[in-house]
């Protein structure tokens, strides 16, 4: 069958010793950085991105995927052991994970998360492989107006799912798109918003922006809060779940995987939505809902499987349609651009070894996390005992050198410093930064497709509504906006997304 043939191509790429090594070091580094408090996958990827510049494209992407999973797993580890979610998708894990840790069952909680994630990763890899072909075929039917409509839908859904009022999320998307216009206009060669600064002719780089906002500004915020970590100090013994644990976690893992696989594909979906939805579902279905919040193993097994499945299937829109579903994917899109790969349907047709190699290496990465992280849990926990006052200068050093290495110049470091101030303003005004980054990454493609569609229709804007495909995509976006403004749904959303 085609699917297995393709996976075979993929595994022959992923299983090359060099690529295995990159996947391994990606997972290791990702976990190492992801474990540090206040650093989610986004900052971790941005920080480690420069390391991959020198690698060939397939190795670089494989390593980045490893970093992503490692960072996510690192986030779950801190959620369980110190009640500190590394990022929003492991917020739910803190609820029951930390309780289990307090009961002396941290080891069981960690291995439950690892086993659930691994199983979910296997299923999601298959789903990704199976869906890639048909979706890519659909994408090839898309013209400029359909792509424009699709990206609008993605941005609207991403703002709907970000925290804070919807209208402010949309505002951040539009601001991000405006920032993306800085640089040379490809159609006319005009320098826009560059003010004669040659470093800006190629546009604002997203790495300094991400580092400034998610690295430096985050540090200022953490220093203000100044709360002590509540570390579970006892030794983590006994990693193995009991038979009873297995009986309870298996159905939760299965449900979480299904939910995550489905929700991850949605534009704007991904790991966060999946884990919240799964926790709610598990609590509803459980025979012992009163145990939730007091160390119910389902409360870890479900969401952890769901967020890993969602993290993986959120690659689907990026790789097949070229539309990143969330910020982490936006960063991956940026990373692909650096290696001269335009994410989208062409990746699969023009570069099958890279495409399937990446998919296969996701599975390999998950396997590595399973064998790597459980034995190393003790080491990760040790890292957390380092006081923050020693950690944050280290984070700043790595971020600064990382930003420098993009072009080997200091301009990007100044850029990151400026975005640190901007990011701090955003934190104080409680404006979500994720939609800004999505707008920044999608902006050029939206303008390009908009302009092309308008040229083809001779300036008639109704063309977006008369083509059935783009009309239905825009209608879906409109429905999302109407739903979000209904009071009943708004209240539930606020409840679900509050941090």
């Amino acid at each position: 069958m085609d699917l297995f043939h393709n996976l075979a191509i993929g595994f022959s790429t992923a299983a090359q010793p060099a690529n295995l090594l990159y996947a391994f070091s990606g997972c290791l580094l990702g976990t190492l950085i992801g474990v540090l408090p206040g650093l989610g996958p986004l900052a971790t990827i941005a920080m480690l991105l420069p390391i991959t510049y020198a690698l060939p494209p397939d190795a670089a992407l494989i390593m980045l995927a490893g970093i992503y999973y490692g960072a996510q797993y690192g986030g779950s580890t801190t959620a369980i052991v110190v009640n500190l979610p590394g990022e929003s998708s492991s917020v739910v894990t803190t609820i029951d994970g930390y309780q289990m840790a307090k009961q002396g069952r941290a080891g069981v909680a960690l291995s439950t998360a690892a086993i659930g994630s691994f199983f979910a990763g296997c299923v999601a890899t298959l789903a990704l492989a199976a869906l890639a072909g048909p979706l890519t075929a659909t994408a090839l039917l898309f013209g400029p107006k359909e792509f424009f409509a699709l990206m609008i839908l993605g941005l609207i859904l991403a703002s709907v799912l970000s925290s804070g009022p919807f209208i402010e999320g949309i505002g951040m998307v539009v601001l991000g798109m405006l920032l993306s216009l800085v640089g040379t206009d490809l159609n006319s060669g005009t320098q826009r918003f560059a003010f004669g600064v040659p470093q800006l002719f190629d546009g604002l780089d997203f790495v300094p922006l991400a580092m400034g906002i998610f690295g430096f500004a985050e540090i200022v915020k953490n220093l203000e809060q100044d709360d002590k970590l509540s570390l579970v100090t006892q030794k983590i013994a006994n990693l193995f779940p009991t038979r009873e644990d297995f009986r309870r976690m298996i159905p939760a893992v299965l449900r979480g995987t299904t939910l995550g696989t489905l929700l991850g594909v949605l534009p704007g979906g991904g790991a966060v939505l999946s884990s919240f939805a799964s926790y709610t579902l598990e609590k509803k279905l459980s025979k012992h809902p009163e145990e939730f919040g007091k160390g119910a193993i389902e409360g870890i097994a479900g969401p952890e499987s769901a967020n890993n499945a969602g993290a993986q299937t959120s690659f689907i829109p990026l790789l097949t349609l070229g539309v990143p579903a969330n910020v982490v994917m936006a960063l991956m899109a940026g990373a692909m651009n650096i290696h001269n790969i335009q994410p989208g349907p062409e990746v699969m047709t023009k570069n099958p070894a890279l495409f399937w190699g990446l998919i296969a290496s996701m599975w390999v990465g998950n396997l590595m996390l399973l064998v790597l992280n459980l034995p190393l849990v003790g080491l990760w926990v040790k890292l957390l005992t380092i006081p923050y006052r020693y950690l944050f200068p280290a984070i700043m050093v790595f971020c600064s050198i990382g930003v420098y290495s993009i072009n080997g110049g200091t301009f990007e470091i100044h850029e990151a410093a400026a975005f640190c101030v901007f990011g701090y303003v955003l934190i104080k005004l409680q404006l979500p930064a994720a939609p800004l980054l999505l707008g920044l990454v999608l902006g050029p493609a939206i303008e390009e497709n908009f302009r092309r569609a308008m040229v083809l229709s001779r300036g008639d804007a109704t063309v977006f509504l008369t083509s059935p495909l783009s009309a239905s995509l825009l209608a879906a976006a409109a429905v999302a906006i109407i739903l979000i403004t209904l009071p009943a749904i708004r209240a539930r959303r606020e409840e679900a997304l509050q941090e």
């Binding site: 402010e168 826009r192 918003f193 200022v220 220093l223 006052r389 410093a417 040229v455």
Partner: protein
């Protein structure tokens, strides 16, 4: 402190930020030809986006002034922490080539450490020593990044 007209100061400031960016981008975009809808120039799309952003900004500001808006004052700002962190990054950038990696890292680490309320000279200096050695091993010898290790004077 809370003014009578603006109930939600946080949202009002957010809307004002949007509006300010919108005006900046719109006015700058006036320098670029707009073209027509069928043949758009480089100024068309930015103007369109700036108008959308201005509308969003105004809507957010109006919502913040409604009598039903939630009362929210602006949060406390920690200018000192921000200044130490941002300042140390800028100094790192300025010093990297003249003073070399070792000198600029030293300034970055010690100065950013000042942002922490638990700052001690001994801790910061030890941390600087450890991190500088680590960076030299990882970035210069390990990854082979082209970084100026020593001050420009020595070359």
């Amino acid at each position: 402190m809370t003014g009578p007209a603006i109930r939600d100061q946080r949202a009002f400031a957010a809307g004002a930020l949007f509006l300010a960016f919108a005006i900046f981008f719109f006015v700058t975009a006036l320098n670029y030809p707009a073209g027509t809808a069928a043949r758009m120039g480089p100024g068309y799309f930015p103007r369109m986006l700036a108008i959308v952003l201005a509308a969003i900004g105004l809507a957010v500001m109006v919502r913040a002034m409604r009598s039903t808006a939630e009362r929210q004052p602006l949060r406390q700002w920690d200018w000192k922490g921000l200044a130490w962190v941002t300042g140390s990054v800028i100094l790192f950038a300025l010093l990297l080539f003249p003073a070399g990696l070792i000198g600029s890292l030293f300034v970055l680490i010690v100065m950013s450490s000042k942002a922490s309320p638990e700052f001690t000279w001994k801790g910061a200096l030890t941390n600087a020593a450890v991190l500088i050695v680590l960076c030299l091993l990882v970035f210069v010898y390990g990854l082979g990044l082209r970084l100026p290790v020593w001050p420009a004077l020595f070359n």
